[in-house]
Amino acid sequence: MAYPENYKYTREHEWIEVAGNVGTVGITDYAQTSLGDIVFVDAPKVGTKVQKGSVFGSVESVKAVSDLYSPVTGTVTGVNEELHASPEKINTDAHSSWIIKVELSNPSELDALLSAIDYEKFIAEETGK
Protein backbone atom coordinates (compact mmCIF):
# COMPACT_ATOMS: atom_id res chain seq x y z
CA MET A 1 0.00 0.00 0.00
CA ALA A 2 1.40 3.33 -1.01
CA TYR A 3 1.14 5.96 1.68
CA PRO A 4 0.61 9.37 0.03
CA GLU A 5 3.88 11.29 0.23
CA ASN A 6 2.21 14.65 0.71
CA TYR A 7 0.40 13.44 3.85
CA LYS A 8 1.87 13.43 7.34
CA TYR A 9 1.21 10.65 9.85
CA THR A 10 0.94 9.92 13.56
CA ARG A 11 1.97 6.87 15.57
CA GLU A 12 -1.75 6.44 16.35
CA HIS A 13 -2.32 5.84 12.64
CA GLU A 14 -3.99 9.08 11.63
CA TRP A 15 -3.03 11.00 8.47
CA ILE A 16 -3.26 14.72 7.81
CA GLU A 17 -3.16 16.53 4.46
CA VAL A 18 -2.51 20.26 4.76
CA ALA A 19 -3.58 22.96 2.32
CA GLY A 20 -2.92 26.52 3.47
CA ASN A 21 -3.98 26.65 7.10
CA VAL A 22 -6.47 23.75 6.93
CA GLY A 23 -5.62 20.15 7.68
CA THR A 24 -7.78 17.24 6.48
CA VAL A 25 -7.60 14.24 8.83
CA GLY A 26 -8.36 10.55 8.43
CA ILE A 27 -7.04 7.13 9.48
CA THR A 28 -4.50 5.11 7.55
CA ASP A 29 -4.98 1.98 5.53
CA TYR A 30 -3.02 0.07 8.20
CA ALA A 31 -5.56 1.23 10.78
CA GLN A 32 -8.60 0.20 8.75
CA THR A 33 -7.09 -3.23 8.03
CA SER A 34 -6.45 -3.78 11.73
CA LEU A 35 -9.94 -2.65 12.70
CA GLY A 36 -11.85 -4.75 10.21
CA ASP A 37 -15.33 -3.83 8.98
CA ILE A 38 -16.01 -0.28 10.22
CA VAL A 39 -19.60 0.25 11.31
CA PHE A 40 -19.60 3.58 13.18
CA VAL A 41 -17.77 6.88 13.18
CA ASP A 42 -18.14 9.28 16.10
CA ALA A 43 -16.94 12.70 14.92
CA PRO A 44 -17.07 16.09 16.68
CA LYS A 45 -19.24 18.98 15.53
CA VAL A 46 -18.00 21.93 13.47
CA GLY A 47 -16.60 24.54 15.84
CA THR A 48 -15.18 22.03 18.33
CA LYS A 49 -11.65 22.76 19.53
CA VAL A 50 -9.22 19.89 19.17
CA GLN A 51 -5.82 19.43 20.84
CA LYS A 52 -2.78 17.72 19.38
CA GLY A 53 -2.52 14.25 20.91
CA SER A 54 -6.00 14.33 22.45
CA VAL A 55 -8.97 12.17 21.56
CA PHE A 56 -11.41 13.90 19.21
CA GLY A 57 -13.73 11.02 18.38
CA SER A 58 -13.76 7.31 17.66
CA VAL A 59 -14.09 4.75 14.94
CA GLU A 60 -15.79 1.44 15.66
CA SER A 61 -15.58 -1.88 13.91
CA VAL A 62 -17.90 -4.75 14.78
CA LYS A 63 -15.50 -6.03 17.39
CA ALA A 64 -13.66 -2.96 18.69
CA VAL A 65 -13.69 0.75 19.49
CA SER A 66 -10.69 2.80 18.46
CA ASP A 67 -10.08 6.33 19.70
CA LEU A 68 -9.08 9.01 17.21
CA TYR A 69 -6.21 11.29 18.24
CA SER A 70 -5.85 14.72 16.69
CA PRO A 71 -2.49 15.27 14.96
CA VAL A 72 -2.84 19.03 15.45
CA THR A 73 -4.38 21.74 17.64
CA GLY A 74 -7.14 23.86 16.13
CA THR A 75 -10.83 24.21 15.36
CA VAL A 76 -13.01 21.76 13.43
CA THR A 77 -14.25 23.46 10.25
CA GLY A 78 -15.67 20.45 8.46
CA VAL A 79 -17.03 16.96 9.19
CA ASN A 80 -17.46 14.24 6.54
CA GLU A 81 -21.19 13.56 6.75
CA GLU A 82 -20.92 10.63 4.29
CA LEU A 83 -19.33 8.53 7.02
CA HIS A 84 -22.46 8.84 9.16
CA ALA A 85 -24.44 6.60 6.81
CA SER A 86 -21.52 4.83 5.10
CA PRO A 87 -18.69 4.30 7.59
CA GLU A 88 -17.42 1.36 5.52
CA LYS A 89 -16.01 3.87 3.02
CA ILE A 90 -12.99 4.06 5.31
CA ASN A 91 -12.35 0.36 4.65
CA THR A 92 -12.65 0.83 0.90
CA ASP A 93 -10.38 3.88 0.69
CA ALA A 94 -8.91 5.05 3.97
CA HIS A 95 -6.70 7.72 2.43
CA SER A 96 -9.59 9.52 0.71
CA SER A 97 -12.19 9.02 3.45
CA TRP A 98 -11.46 12.10 5.52
CA ILE A 99 -13.12 12.41 8.91
CA ILE A 100 -12.62 16.09 9.93
CA LYS A 101 -11.07 19.29 8.63
CA VAL A 102 -9.18 21.42 11.15
CA GLU A 103 -8.10 25.04 11.00
CA LEU A 104 -4.59 24.90 12.48
CA SER A 105 -3.75 27.18 15.36
CA ASN A 106 -0.11 26.06 15.46
CA PRO A 107 1.22 24.90 12.05
CA SER A 108 4.68 24.20 13.51
CA GLU A 109 3.16 21.07 15.10
CA LEU A 110 3.32 19.49 11.64
CA ASP A 111 7.12 19.27 11.87
CA ALA A 112 6.89 16.60 14.59
CA LEU A 113 4.67 14.32 12.51
CA LEU A 114 5.96 11.35 10.49
CA SER A 115 6.63 11.42 6.78
CA ALA A 116 5.21 8.62 4.61
CA ILE A 117 8.58 6.80 4.67
CA ASP A 118 8.92 7.12 8.44
CA TYR A 119 5.34 5.93 8.91
CA GLU A 120 5.94 2.88 6.73
CA LYS A 121 9.07 2.10 8.77
CA PHE A 122 7.05 2.53 11.95
CA ILE A 123 4.35 0.03 10.95
CA ALA A 124 6.96 -2.40 9.67
CA GLU A 125 8.48 -2.39 13.17
CA GLU A 126 5.06 -2.75 14.79
CA THR A 127 4.19 -5.81 12.74
CA GLY A 128 7.66 -7.28 13.12
CA LYS A 129 8.19 -7.55 9.40
Binding site: F40, V62, K63, V65
Partner: protein, 378 residues
Protein backbone atom coordinates in the same frame (compact mmCIF):
# COMPACT_ATOMS: atom_id res chain seq x y z
CA UNK B 1 -2.25 -2.39 17.84
CA UNK B 2 -1.01 -6.02 18.25
CA UNK B 3 2.25 -6.69 20.04
CA UNK B 4 4.26 -9.91 20.13
CA UNK B 5 2.42 -12.96 21.53
CA UNK B 6 3.35 -14.32 25.00
CA UNK B 7 5.37 -17.54 25.07
CA UNK B 8 2.95 -20.12 26.44
CA UNK B 9 0.03 -19.70 24.04
CA UNK B 10 -1.79 -22.90 23.15
CA UNK B 11 -2.40 -23.74 19.52
CA UNK B 12 -4.78 -26.07 17.71
CA UNK B 13 -3.54 -28.45 15.02
CA UNK B 14 -4.79 -25.98 12.42
CA UNK B 15 -2.80 -23.00 13.72
CA UNK B 16 -0.34 -23.03 10.81
CA UNK B 17 -3.24 -23.45 8.37
CA UNK B 18 -5.04 -20.42 9.79
CA UNK B 19 -1.92 -18.28 9.51
CA UNK B 20 -1.21 -19.58 6.01
CA UNK B 21 -4.75 -18.52 5.03
CA UNK B 22 -4.01 -15.02 6.27
CA UNK B 23 -6.21 -15.09 9.35
CA UNK B 24 -5.94 -12.25 11.82
CA UNK B 25 -5.09 -13.94 15.10
CA UNK B 26 -6.21 -13.16 18.64
CA UNK B 27 -5.62 -14.64 22.07
CA UNK B 28 -8.72 -16.28 23.52
CA UNK B 29 -8.70 -18.21 26.78
CA UNK B 30 -4.95 -18.78 26.44
CA UNK B 31 -5.26 -19.97 22.82
CA UNK B 32 -3.83 -18.40 19.64
CA UNK B 33 -6.95 -18.40 17.49
CA UNK B 34 -8.18 -16.87 14.21
CA UNK B 35 -10.53 -13.95 14.81
CA UNK B 36 -11.31 -13.36 11.14
CA UNK B 37 -10.08 -14.28 7.65
CA UNK B 38 -11.92 -12.43 4.88
CA UNK B 39 -13.83 -10.24 7.31
CA UNK B 40 -16.19 -10.66 10.23
CA UNK B 41 -19.31 -9.47 8.42
CA UNK B 42 -18.71 -11.66 5.35
CA UNK B 43 -18.11 -14.69 7.59
CA UNK B 44 -21.19 -14.01 9.71
CA UNK B 45 -23.36 -13.67 6.57
CA UNK B 46 -21.90 -16.84 5.06
CA UNK B 47 -23.14 -18.79 8.08
CA UNK B 48 -26.59 -17.18 7.99
CA UNK B 49 -27.09 -17.63 4.24
CA UNK B 50 -24.82 -20.49 3.14
CA UNK B 51 -22.19 -22.28 5.20
CA UNK B 52 -19.17 -21.44 7.32
CA UNK B 53 -16.36 -23.53 8.79
CA UNK B 54 -14.91 -23.01 12.27
CA UNK B 55 -11.94 -24.60 14.02
CA UNK B 56 -13.27 -25.09 17.55
CA UNK B 57 -10.59 -27.52 18.71
CA UNK B 58 -9.78 -25.25 21.61
CA UNK B 59 -12.93 -26.54 23.28
CA UNK B 60 -12.49 -29.51 25.63
CA UNK B 61 -13.84 -33.06 25.75
CA UNK B 62 -14.31 -35.00 28.95
CA UNK B 63 -15.45 -38.58 28.78
CA UNK B 64 -17.08 -40.31 31.75
CA UNK B 65 -17.09 -44.11 31.49
CA UNK B 66 -18.21 -46.92 33.76
CA UNK B 67 -21.38 -48.26 35.34
CA UNK B 68 -21.71 -45.17 37.55
CA UNK B 69 -21.42 -42.64 34.71
CA UNK B 70 -25.07 -41.63 34.67
CA UNK B 71 -25.10 -41.09 38.44
CA UNK B 72 -21.91 -39.08 38.11
CA UNK B 73 -23.32 -36.90 35.31
CA UNK B 74 -26.54 -36.35 37.26
CA UNK B 75 -24.51 -35.21 40.24
CA UNK B 76 -22.53 -32.54 38.37
CA UNK B 77 -24.91 -31.46 35.60
CA UNK B 78 -28.13 -29.49 36.11
CA UNK B 79 -30.13 -30.96 33.23
CA UNK B 80 -31.63 -34.45 33.48
CA UNK B 81 -29.26 -36.85 31.72
CA UNK B 82 -31.54 -39.81 32.47
CA UNK B 83 -33.82 -38.45 29.75
CA UNK B 84 -31.10 -38.79 27.10
CA UNK B 85 -31.23 -41.68 24.68
CA UNK B 86 -28.14 -43.18 23.08
CA UNK B 87 -27.07 -40.82 20.34
CA UNK B 88 -28.70 -37.79 21.97
CA UNK B 89 -27.13 -34.67 23.48
CA UNK B 90 -28.40 -31.72 25.46
CA UNK B 91 -27.30 -28.31 26.73
CA UNK B 92 -26.58 -28.14 30.43
CA UNK B 93 -24.26 -26.60 32.98
CA UNK B 94 -22.10 -27.69 35.86
CA UNK B 95 -22.86 -25.68 38.99
CA UNK B 96 -21.10 -24.75 42.19
CA UNK B 97 -22.91 -25.56 45.44
CA UNK B 98 -24.26 -22.00 45.54
CA UNK B 99 -26.05 -22.51 42.20
CA UNK B 100 -23.63 -20.48 40.09
CA UNK B 101 -21.79 -21.68 36.99
CA UNK B 102 -18.64 -23.76 36.73
CA UNK B 103 -19.23 -23.87 32.96
CA UNK B 104 -21.94 -24.50 30.40
CA UNK B 105 -21.62 -27.80 28.56
CA UNK B 106 -23.13 -30.13 26.01
CA UNK B 107 -23.68 -33.62 27.43
CA UNK B 108 -23.75 -36.48 24.91
CA UNK B 109 -24.97 -39.98 25.83
CA UNK B 110 -22.81 -42.49 23.96
CA UNK B 111 -24.16 -45.45 25.96
CA UNK B 112 -25.41 -46.28 29.46
CA UNK B 113 -21.76 -46.47 30.52
CA UNK B 114 -20.34 -43.66 28.44
CA UNK B 115 -20.94 -39.89 28.39
CA UNK B 116 -19.08 -37.17 26.51
CA UNK B 117 -19.12 -33.67 27.99
CA UNK B 118 -17.96 -30.87 25.70
CA UNK B 119 -16.69 -27.86 27.64
CA UNK B 120 -15.33 -24.39 26.98
CA UNK B 121 -11.77 -23.57 25.97
CA UNK B 122 -10.97 -21.12 28.74
CA UNK B 123 -12.19 -23.46 31.47
CA UNK B 124 -10.64 -26.77 30.33
CA UNK B 125 -8.37 -27.43 33.32
CA UNK B 126 -10.80 -26.07 35.87
CA UNK B 127 -13.64 -28.19 34.45
CA UNK B 128 -11.59 -31.37 34.29
CA UNK B 129 -10.45 -31.03 37.89
CA UNK B 130 -14.00 -30.21 38.92
CA UNK B 131 -15.35 -33.29 37.18
CA UNK B 132 -12.61 -35.61 38.48
CA UNK B 133 -12.97 -34.55 42.08
CA UNK B 134 -16.78 -34.59 41.99
CA UNK B 135 -17.20 -38.02 40.42
CA UNK B 136 -14.70 -39.82 42.69
CA UNK B 137 -17.38 -41.51 44.73
CA UNK B 138 -19.13 -42.91 41.66
CA UNK B 139 -18.12 -46.07 39.85
CA UNK B 140 -16.74 -44.34 36.78
CA UNK B 141 -13.59 -42.96 35.29
CA UNK B 142 -13.09 -39.43 33.93
CA UNK B 143 -10.77 -38.87 30.99
CA UNK B 144 -9.67 -35.68 29.29
CA UNK B 145 -9.79 -36.36 25.56
CA UNK B 146 -9.49 -32.72 24.47
CA UNK B 147 -6.10 -33.06 22.79
CA UNK B 148 -7.15 -36.16 20.83
CA UNK B 149 -9.65 -34.30 18.68
CA UNK B 150 -9.67 -31.56 16.11
CA UNK B 151 -13.24 -30.28 16.39
CA UNK B 152 -14.69 -28.56 13.34
CA UNK B 153 -18.04 -26.78 13.23
CA UNK B 154 -19.79 -26.64 9.85
CA UNK B 155 -22.68 -24.23 10.26
CA UNK B 156 -25.39 -22.75 8.08
CA UNK B 157 -28.42 -23.68 5.95
CA UNK B 158 -26.06 -25.40 3.51
CA UNK B 159 -24.06 -27.25 6.18
CA UNK B 160 -25.86 -30.55 5.61
CA UNK B 161 -25.40 -30.42 1.84
CA UNK B 162 -21.73 -29.62 2.36
CA UNK B 163 -21.07 -32.42 4.83
CA UNK B 164 -23.15 -34.87 2.79
CA UNK B 165 -20.44 -34.78 0.11
CA UNK B 166 -17.91 -36.06 2.65
CA UNK B 167 -19.77 -38.83 4.45
CA UNK B 168 -21.79 -41.98 3.86
CA UNK B 169 -24.05 -41.20 6.82
CA UNK B 170 -27.58 -40.08 5.94
CA UNK B 171 -27.49 -36.71 7.68
CA UNK B 172 -31.27 -36.31 7.51
CA UNK B 173 -31.42 -39.16 10.04
CA UNK B 174 -29.60 -37.01 12.61
CA UNK B 175 -31.95 -34.56 14.30
CA UNK B 176 -30.85 -31.41 16.08
CA UNK B 177 -28.81 -32.21 19.21
CA UNK B 178 -28.40 -35.85 18.17
CA UNK B 179 -25.23 -37.52 16.89
CA UNK B 180 -24.01 -40.56 15.00
CA UNK B 181 -20.75 -42.23 14.09
CA UNK B 182 -19.72 -42.66 10.49
CA UNK B 183 -17.02 -42.29 7.92
CA UNK B 184 -16.14 -38.67 7.19
CA UNK B 185 -13.40 -37.78 4.69
CA UNK B 186 -12.42 -41.45 4.71
CA UNK B 187 -12.02 -41.51 8.51
CA UNK B 188 -14.05 -44.33 10.03
CA UNK B 189 -16.01 -43.94 13.28
CA UNK B 190 -16.01 -40.17 13.23
CA UNK B 191 -18.41 -38.49 15.64
CA UNK B 192 -20.91 -36.31 13.76
CA UNK B 193 -23.08 -34.19 16.06
CA UNK B 194 -25.85 -31.88 14.94
CA UNK B 195 -24.82 -29.19 17.41
CA UNK B 196 -23.39 -25.71 17.19
CA UNK B 197 -23.10 -22.23 18.60
CA UNK B 198 -24.50 -20.13 15.77
CA UNK B 199 -28.28 -20.50 15.84
CA UNK B 200 -28.14 -22.14 12.41
CA UNK B 201 -28.44 -25.78 11.43
CA UNK B 202 -25.03 -27.38 11.45
CA UNK B 203 -22.71 -30.13 12.50
CA UNK B 204 -19.66 -30.55 14.66
CA UNK B 205 -17.27 -33.30 13.65
CA UNK B 206 -14.45 -34.70 15.75
CA UNK B 207 -11.42 -35.96 13.81
CA UNK B 208 -7.94 -37.05 14.94
CA UNK B 209 -5.86 -34.08 15.99
CA UNK B 210 -2.67 -34.75 14.05
CA UNK B 211 -1.79 -31.86 11.77
CA UNK B 212 -1.90 -33.81 8.51
CA UNK B 213 -5.39 -35.23 9.11
CA UNK B 214 -6.71 -31.96 10.49
CA UNK B 215 -5.47 -29.96 7.49
CA UNK B 216 -6.76 -32.53 5.02
CA UNK B 217 -10.24 -32.54 6.51
CA UNK B 218 -10.27 -28.72 6.76
CA UNK B 219 -9.40 -28.43 3.07
CA UNK B 220 -11.92 -31.08 2.03
CA UNK B 221 -14.72 -29.29 3.86
CA UNK B 222 -13.79 -25.98 2.20
CA UNK B 223 -13.78 -27.73 -1.16
CA UNK B 224 -17.14 -29.40 -0.51
CA UNK B 225 -18.71 -26.09 0.47
CA UNK B 226 -17.39 -24.11 -2.51
CA UNK B 227 -20.72 -24.30 -4.39
CA UNK B 228 -22.41 -22.72 -1.37
CA UNK B 229 -19.92 -19.92 -0.86
CA UNK B 230 -18.30 -21.50 2.21
CA UNK B 231 -15.94 -19.29 4.19
CA UNK B 232 -13.55 -20.14 6.99
CA UNK B 233 -14.88 -18.28 10.03
CA UNK B 234 -13.10 -16.94 13.08
CA UNK B 235 -13.98 -16.09 16.66
CA UNK B 236 -15.24 -12.66 15.63
CA UNK B 237 -18.13 -14.10 13.63
CA UNK B 238 -18.54 -16.87 16.21
CA UNK B 239 -19.28 -14.21 18.77
CA UNK B 240 -21.71 -12.14 16.68
CA UNK B 241 -23.56 -15.27 15.59
CA UNK B 242 -24.04 -16.60 19.11
CA UNK B 243 -25.01 -13.11 20.32
CA UNK B 244 -27.77 -12.79 17.70
CA UNK B 245 -29.00 -16.17 18.96
CA UNK B 246 -28.68 -15.01 22.60
CA UNK B 247 -26.42 -17.92 23.51
CA UNK B 248 -24.34 -17.52 26.65
CA UNK B 249 -20.60 -17.02 26.85
CA UNK B 250 -18.73 -17.92 30.04
CA UNK B 251 -17.48 -14.92 32.00
CA UNK B 252 -20.13 -12.83 30.25
CA UNK B 253 -23.72 -14.07 30.72
CA UNK B 254 -22.69 -16.90 33.04
CA UNK B 255 -19.94 -17.11 35.65
CA UNK B 256 -19.16 -18.33 39.14
CA UNK B 257 -20.99 -15.27 40.46
CA UNK B 258 -24.22 -15.67 38.47
CA UNK B 259 -26.93 -18.21 39.26
CA UNK B 260 -29.15 -20.19 36.88
CA UNK B 261 -32.29 -18.09 37.45
CA UNK B 262 -30.46 -14.81 36.87
CA UNK B 263 -29.00 -16.18 33.63
CA UNK B 264 -32.48 -17.13 32.38
CA UNK B 265 -31.32 -20.75 31.85
CA UNK B 266 -33.78 -22.43 34.21
CA UNK B 267 -35.46 -24.28 31.33
CA UNK B 268 -32.35 -26.50 31.38
CA UNK B 269 -32.48 -26.89 35.16
CA UNK B 270 -34.28 -30.04 36.34
CA UNK B 271 -34.66 -29.75 40.08
CA UNK B 272 -37.26 -32.53 39.97
CA UNK B 273 -34.61 -35.14 39.15
CA UNK B 274 -33.35 -35.15 42.74
CA UNK B 275 -30.49 -33.42 44.56
CA UNK B 276 -27.33 -32.51 42.70
CA UNK B 277 -24.53 -29.99 43.15
CA UNK B 278 -26.19 -26.60 43.32
CA UNK B 279 -29.79 -27.82 43.57
CA UNK B 280 -30.35 -26.94 47.22
CA UNK B 281 -29.06 -23.38 46.86
CA UNK B 282 -31.29 -22.87 43.82
CA UNK B 283 -34.33 -24.23 45.66
CA UNK B 284 -33.64 -21.73 48.42
CA UNK B 285 -33.36 -18.87 45.91
CA UNK B 286 -36.66 -19.96 44.40
CA UNK B 287 -38.33 -20.17 47.80
CA UNK B 288 -37.07 -16.73 48.76
CA UNK B 289 -38.66 -15.02 45.73
CA UNK B 290 -36.30 -15.75 42.87
CA UNK B 291 -33.39 -13.78 41.45
CA UNK B 292 -32.96 -10.06 42.10
CA UNK B 293 -31.49 -9.45 38.66
CA UNK B 294 -32.19 -11.01 35.28
CA UNK B 295 -30.57 -11.30 31.89
CA UNK B 296 -32.41 -9.42 29.16
CA UNK B 297 -31.95 -8.65 25.49
CA UNK B 298 -31.47 -5.00 24.50
CA UNK B 299 -31.94 -3.31 21.17
CA UNK B 300 -30.10 0.01 21.03
CA UNK B 301 -32.58 2.55 19.67
CA UNK B 302 -30.46 5.70 19.56
CA UNK B 303 -27.20 6.10 17.66
CA UNK B 304 -24.46 4.11 19.42
CA UNK B 305 -23.05 0.66 20.08
CA UNK B 306 -23.34 -1.01 23.48
CA UNK B 307 -20.32 -3.14 24.36
CA UNK B 308 -19.29 -5.68 27.00
CA UNK B 309 -19.03 -4.09 30.42
CA UNK B 310 -20.90 -0.84 29.65
CA UNK B 311 -23.25 0.36 32.41
CA UNK B 312 -27.00 0.11 32.03
CA UNK B 313 -28.82 3.20 33.36
CA UNK B 314 -32.39 3.94 34.29
CA UNK B 315 -34.30 6.99 33.04
CA UNK B 316 -32.79 9.07 35.85
CA UNK B 317 -29.29 8.20 34.71
CA UNK B 318 -28.54 5.93 37.67
CA UNK B 319 -26.55 2.74 37.06
CA UNK B 320 -28.86 -0.25 37.45
CA UNK B 321 -27.06 -2.99 35.60
CA UNK B 322 -24.34 -3.99 33.16
CA UNK B 323 -23.97 -5.14 29.57
CA UNK B 324 -22.52 -8.67 29.46
CA UNK B 325 -22.14 -8.82 25.67
CA UNK B 326 -22.84 -6.07 23.15
CA UNK B 327 -22.06 -5.58 19.49
CA UNK B 328 -23.47 -4.62 16.12
CA UNK B 329 -25.49 -7.58 14.77
CA UNK B 330 -24.36 -8.10 11.15
CA UNK B 331 -27.41 -10.06 9.99
CA UNK B 332 -30.07 -8.13 11.89
CA UNK B 333 -28.37 -4.80 11.11
CA UNK B 334 -29.08 -3.49 14.57
CA UNK B 335 -26.94 -2.88 17.63
CA UNK B 336 -27.86 -5.43 20.29
CA UNK B 337 -26.76 -6.47 23.74
CA UNK B 338 -27.39 -8.89 26.57
CA UNK B 339 -27.47 -7.24 29.97
CA UNK B 340 -28.33 -7.77 33.62
CA UNK B 341 -31.01 -5.49 35.02
CA UNK B 342 -33.04 -5.62 38.27
CA UNK B 343 -35.80 -8.21 38.02
CA UNK B 344 -38.56 -5.62 38.40
CA UNK B 345 -37.27 -3.81 35.29
CA UNK B 346 -36.75 -6.96 33.22
CA UNK B 347 -39.91 -6.44 31.16
CA UNK B 348 -40.13 -6.58 27.35
CA UNK B 349 -40.58 -3.09 25.82
CA UNK B 350 -39.13 -1.49 28.94
CA UNK B 351 -36.70 1.33 28.18
CA UNK B 352 -33.28 1.74 29.70
CA UNK B 353 -30.10 3.47 28.59
CA UNK B 354 -26.57 2.22 28.05
CA UNK B 355 -23.67 4.47 28.97
CA UNK B 356 -21.55 4.71 25.83
CA UNK B 357 -18.33 6.58 26.64
CA UNK B 358 -20.00 8.93 29.06
CA UNK B 359 -23.28 9.45 27.20
CA UNK B 360 -26.62 7.67 27.79
CA UNK B 361 -27.91 5.94 24.66
CA UNK B 362 -31.50 4.67 24.78
CA UNK B 363 -32.19 0.95 24.53
CA UNK B 364 -35.34 -1.14 24.56
CA UNK B 365 -35.74 -4.54 26.22
CA UNK B 366 -36.66 -7.07 23.54
CA UNK B 367 -37.43 -10.81 23.58
CA UNK B 368 -34.57 -13.22 23.03
CA UNK B 369 -33.25 -14.78 20.93
CA UNK B 370 -32.85 -11.74 18.70
CA UNK B 371 -32.63 -14.07 15.70
CA UNK B 372 -34.38 -17.38 15.03
CA UNK B 373 -33.53 -19.30 11.91
CA UNK B 374 -36.38 -19.82 9.44
CA UNK B 375 -38.19 -23.15 9.83
CA UNK B 376 -37.45 -25.60 7.07
CA UNK B 377 -40.59 -26.74 5.28
CA UNK B 378 -38.88 -29.62 3.47
Amino acid sequence: MATSAPITLRKTALNVMHRRMGAKMVVFGGWDMPVEYLGLIAEHMAVRTGVGLFDVSHMGDIQLRGPGSLDAVQHISMNDASKLQEGQAHYSAMLYPQGTFVDDVIVHKLSDNDYLIVINAGTREKDFHWVKSNVQRFNCHANDYSDYYTQLAIQGPKAAETLAKLTNVDLSSIKGYWFKWGTVCGLANTLIARTGYTGEDGFEIYVPSDVATSERVWNEVLEAGKDFGILPCGLGARNTLRLESAMSLYEHEISDKINVFEAHLDRFLKLEKGPFTGSEALKTIQAEGGPTKKLVGLEIIERGIARDGYAVLNAAGKKIGVVTSGSPAPFLKKNIALAYVPTELAVVDGEVAVEVRGNPVKARIVPTPFYRRPKKTA
